[in-house]
């Protein structure tokens, strides 16, 4: 079954008089359980495409279906709800809430989804185990290394059991060892839980983990 279906989307950014065609008619289908790299040179539209899939932004034209649902027709709140339950995000910067501990960061999407305290506790502990951070539960992000922070972000993305996790250059700010650890955890979770991963990257060491590579150039998919 397909998790994402993209039909001929374009995205034009307008800054003053200048129009940038970030996406020029992208068609793409992503099946459940894929572990897919989105590659291409800087400015080719990788981030823009992830934002369309992730309901963070809307295409200028075309349609995006996530879990069978046309997300291009949703309003702000409906898109927020879509992100809350169906999509997990991992960003290049380690996007954690600085005032919350590792535990609380992971718990956040569960709170937003209205899980009971008992469910939350069980799930967070399970995830802390899965990313090998059980002993860091009470640390705040500034007390964690970059690799540890990114693992917390992975756990948080996974928490509400989304169909899809989108990662934008998840290893770009990590050294080789940490980058590989993050990729290995993602690979393992993909295998164990079946959750779909789509990640943007230029890093050949990351690309080698992918089971499918989609190449973008100048806002078009040149190879899928």
């Amino acid at each position: 079954m397909e998790v994402v279906k993209i039909e001929n989307i374009t995205r034009v950014y307008k800054v003053g008089q200048i129009e940038t065609h970030a996406l020029r008619g992208v068609n793409l289908t992503i099946e459940n359980g894929e572990f897919t790299a989105l590659v291409g040179p800087s400015g080719s539209g990788k981030t823009t495409l992830l934002q369309m899939i992730g309901c963070l932004d809307q295409p200028s034209t075309g349609r995006v279906f996530v879990d069978g649902k046309d997300v291009t027709t949703l309003n702000r709140n409906q898109r927020a709800d879509m992100r809350k339950g169906h999509i997990g995000f991992i960003f290049q910067f380690f996007a954690l809430i600085p005032t919350l501990s590792a535990y609380e960061n992971i718990e956040m999407p569960l709170l937003l989804n209205g899980h009971s305290p008992a469910e939350r506790k069980a799930r967070v502990e399970e995830l802390l185990q899965a990313v090998d951070l059980a002993d860091r539960a009470n640390n705040r992000p500034d007390q964690l290394s970059g690799g540890q922070q990114q693992r917390v972000a992975i756990a948080r993305a996974l928490a509400p059991k989304p169909a899809l996790i989108l990662a934008d250059e998840p290893t770009a700010n990590l050294d080789t060892a940490n980058g590989e650890q993050v990729m290995e955890i993602m690979t393992r979770l993909n295998k164990e839980t079946g959750v779909t991963f789509v990640f943007a990257t230029h890093d050949p060491r990351v690309i080698k983990y992918a089971r499918r590579v989609v190449t973008l150039r100048d806002g078009l998919v040149v190879q899928a």
Binding site: L56, D57, F93, L100, L111, R156
Partner: protein, 406 residues
């Protein structure tokens, strides 16, 4: 909900200095409002009350032709058989005291010094005369059958260099327009802490005043005190007096004062607004700053599915925590400020507000009503100020927020 407050609390803790100073701004605003409202309550409230107690009463019954400014002593301008009228009025249950008084103008002289005096004939035993008895600072109080005794105010005593027991010469107008002079003994010296009153008013027993002025069994007014000022409008319509008499209420008798008070109230309203506006702008600034600093974080919360309304809630939670902290500090500061203010009071002496009796030292009076009012006002203004940055935060587009400072 609890989590929102937990986050808000920690967010405030992130920049403790800034949070502290914003709460302090709220606190100072509240403390100022408390001090102002207490000073006003202390001064205005008590000034009107003291004007009533000392000089106007709640109600006066006078001859229809009586002209206060002339202190006329012609029989047709006076109340005849005043004891009878007074006792009828005293029968009302809301009336605390109803007593005849006679006013005459004249002057006191001692040696080469002299001073204008408002001679007031009173029943020394009436409860309406209690404030003068209570204000006695030397000598003795009057008794109804004294023949050559006078009670004078402290400023008058100082001006004429008189002490209790000294002789003083009193000249005054009489009913037929002549001037009568007699030597009196200063029996006692009083103060009501109200310069405008004490410097001119001297007291004689009513009978003696009537004898001196040849007004025999007449009085300028029936001075009426009620159990409470608020009863005035209830009692007045119920009173029946002969057609040749008129009823005056404290509002008419203190018209200038009432007008002054109304004017002061509107100035005070403006002051309140200024203080609240300053408080609001500090809060808006702080929170706007913190919204901009946390743009990316807001983007993250939005990306993981937090709706705008919750983000709004998060920032409102911050402003309400600031409000709570500020209000608690403000209550403490306010009480302290009022306490310090009252150690010495604020001495204004004789401000020369003619026609208005003002006690010579202003003291702040903290009332529960005022405290609740200004606290609620401050609280609401603080939270409303938080609304501006909160709305800004809740409207951030996640993409824009995530791209920020990348």
């Amino acid at each position: 909900m609890i989590q929102i407050f937990k986050m808000a609390f920690r967010d405030l803790g992130r920049n403790r200095r800034r949070s502290f100073f914003s709460a302090l701004a709220v606190a100072i605003g509240l403390a100022l409002l408390m001090l102002m409202s207490s000073v006003i309550a202390g001064e205005m409230g008590s000034a009107i009350e003291s004007a009533i107690r000392l000089s106007s009463g709640h109600i006066q019954i006078r001859a229809a032709t009586y002209n206060e400014n002339k202190s006329s002593l012609k029989w047709e301008d006076l109340v005849a058989d005043p004891e009878k009228v007074a006792s009828q009025i005293a029968a009302y249950s809301q009336v605390k005291a109803a007593t005849p008084r006679l006013y005459a103008s004249g002057f006191l002289s001692s040696g080469t010094q002299s001073a204008g005096a408002r001679i007031t004939g009173i029943d020394p035993l009436s409860p309406a005369s209690d404030p003068y008895r209570a204000g006695l600072i030397s000598g003795e109080y009057l008794s109804p059958d004294d023949h050559d005794s006078v009670l004078i105010g402290k400023p008058m005593a100082e001006k004429l260099n008189l002490s209790a027991g000294d002789k003083v010469s009193l000249s005054l107008n009489t009913a037929d327009g002549n001037v009568q002079e007699q030597t009196f003994t200063v029996k006692g010296i009083y103060t009501t802490d109200t310069y405008g009153f004490d410097s001119a008013t001297i007291f004689l027993p009513l009978a003696k005043a009537q004898a001196l002025t040849q007004t025999e069994n007449h009085a300028s007014t029936i001075f009426v005190l009620l159990n409470d000022t608020s009863l005035t409008d209830l009692v007045v319509p119920a009173l029946t007096v002969p057609a040749n008499l008129q009823i005056k209420t404290w509002r008419e008798l203190n018209a200038l004062f009432v007008e002054w008070e109304t004017m002061a109230q509107s100035y005070i309203g403006i002051f309140y607004m200024i203080i609240l506006a300053i408080t609001a702008s500090v809060i808006i600034n702080t929170l706007i700053m913190s919204v901009y600093e946390r743009t990316r974080e807001i983007g993250i919360l939005s990306a993981i599915g937090m709706r705008g309304s919750r983000i709004l809630g998060l920032f409102l939670a911050e402003s309400s925590l600031l409000a709570v902290g500020g209000v608690i500090m403000g209550l403490l500061l306010g009480v302290l400020a009022i306490y310090l203010f009252n150690i010495n009071g604020f001495y204004i002496g004789n401000m020369g507000l003619t026609g208005i009796l003002v006690t010579d030292t202003i003291r702040a009076k903290l009332t529960l009503d005022n405290t609740i009012n200004v606290t609620v006002m401050t609280f609401i203004v603080t939270i409303l100020s938080g609304l501006v940055p909160a709305i800004t935060a809740s409207r951030l587009e996640p993409v824009a927020a995530l791209r920020a400072e990348k």
